[in-house]
Symmetry: C2
Subunit: 292 residues, 2 copies
DNA sequence: ATCACCTATACTTTAATTATATAGAGAATA
DNA sequence: TATTCTCTATATAATTAAAGTATAGGTGAT
């Protein structure tokens, strides 16, 4: 039994005659007769009662028609689903997001979702080392990261935006409430909660060096390993932190804000990173090539 | 997309390589490569990641395989169902049963059901004229009847058994409780409930003629048009009736029994009747050809 | 009885599929 | 590094399946 035989058969049923079906199918009449005969032979069943007034279904033919119609359209739907996966409009993309890139990741994801609502997005927030390991293992397809990680050699990166690194504080811990920019000497006695990320980025070192140049070492009351914790500490009044400025957007209306430190102009790039070696599904291709 | 392409594709997936699949399919390797390529071309999708270590599925290929396996076995199941209808082991047979043939119909139906449990039996009990009309209209496929109806010309009949026509009575209405066979004179003053079936069978007439020969006419207190009603009347003590003897089996343990009338040897045949002209489904063929 | 219409078969032509032979790519081994 | 092995892809020939053409046979209508 072939799909073509089923299609011919259904056409004959719907038109009520082989001749009419052959016209609809744009083929001659004998091939239709022949395929029907082959089908009957294979099934060992008469599908039609032949009469001069056309072809009437037998019981077996009735059953074949009812099931066959669905069967044919099932194939078309099946093909359509596979096609959709091929063009990437359907599928799954597995993403890792570094907390500090959330302000860049979210608009990107929103725009992508609007463009390709059929693509499922799996999103994991974590530390850069873990995310990179999962990317290389193939568990993740792309990462929202900060530029400059050692392990990102061999990865493709696309810059999504840049942040000035600024001092993050609350009104209570602001070392210079009366000024928009904080002179570096004001940091002398300010407790600091710095992000320690195995030196993924050097801007904490740069800040400390600047302080040293000014003749003091700030008191680092806490070194934490993830941005959300640093933010929590800042919000709770433990001290100030030194982070990409847009991070404050992840906790809006929470009394946290950012100010530049005079003479310190460190900068950080938020990037989308992925591995172009190895197999990449159509939806992943689509995701990394996407421009919001 | 053809079934063959799907089968080749699934074989490649299961064997992990085109070469191995071609061996399993008993064809050369190039045709398999080619059909896969055609499938990919039609779907506009890469289904495999080609590597020297074999063929690995892409996301689209994964989806096609999961759905394709089911799709292929669906076709096999579909064909099997149609085949079953063709051989008659599945399907529907619509039957008409004359009440007085119930003792013959029931064992037949029980045996057929045991042999072909997949065949649905639709059973209607009714008057012979109605049943014959429905048979000719095609609403019924076969009838359990009494032989000798005028309208059965052109029908095939098969005799299922014969009944002596006997007097049906209860202990209270028995005209000769002391005898096993009733002398015809005893019917002189006995009220009778006779079945009037538009003279479908002549045995009532035969009985009345015999009475007339004996010099009397029995009192026919009721002429009813269906056997169950006649039976009800007999059971209620309205009178006796004159029916095929095995009819008493349809109301066992009800106090009804049959006795011969001396000198009256009418006989009736229970038959299975059907029309061999026109379309007859495989299960109907099976039913009429069946021997318990 | 002839005509019109429909299906089935015989035969030819065309298209699709398969088989054979072979090239090219990547991993394994010496 | 060169060699060998294995696997896939392509070119071309052979085969097989499908479609087209012509026509016979059957049934109902004019």
């Amino acid at each position: 039994m072939t799909i073509r035989q089923l299609e011919y058969f259904c056409a004959v049923v719907e038109e009520g005659s082989v001749s009419a079906a052959s016209r609809r199918l744009h083929v001659a009449q004998p091939p239709v007769s022949r395929q029907i005969a082959l089908l009957e032979q294979e099934l060992g069943v008469s599908l039609f009662r032949r009469g001069s007034k056309g072809m009437l279904l037998t019981e077996a033919g009735e059953s074949l028609y009812q099931q066959g119609r669905d069967y044919i359209s099932d194939m078309e739907r099946l093909a359509e689903r596979v096609r959709a996966l091929g063009t990437g409009v359907r599928g799954t993309v597995r993403l890792g997001v570094l907390y500090s890139t959330v302000p860049y990741a979210l608009p990107y994801l929103r725009a992508f979702r609007a463009a390709y609502p059929q693509v499922e997005l799996y999103i994991r927030v974590g530390a850069p080392q873990d995310l990179l390991a999962d990317l290389n293992r193939g568990d993740l397809n792309a990462l929202f990261l900060r530029a400059g990680a050692k392990e990102t050699i061999g990865l493709h990166e696309r810059i999504l935006g840049s942040d000035a690194i600024k001092l993050i504080m609350t009104r209570d811990t602001d070392p210079a409430p009366e000024l928009d920019t904080i002179p570096i000497e004001r940091l002398r006695s300010v407790p600091m909660c710095l992000l320690r990320s195995d030196d993924l980025w050097g801007y904490n070192q740069a800040l400390l060096k600047d302080c040293q140049r000014s003749g003091f070492m700030p008191s680092v009351v806490c070194q934490c390993y993830d941005t959300p914790m640093a933010m929590q500490l800042v919000q709770s009044g433990f001290g100030v932190s030194f982070l990409p400025e847009r991070i404050v957007e992840t906790l809006p209306h929470s009394g946290i804000y950012a100010k530049s430190v005079q003479g310190v102009a460190e900068n950080s790039y938020a990037v989308l990173a992925w591995n172009e070696n190895g197999y990449r599904s159509a939806s992943v291709e689509l995701f990394t090539a996407f421009r919001p």
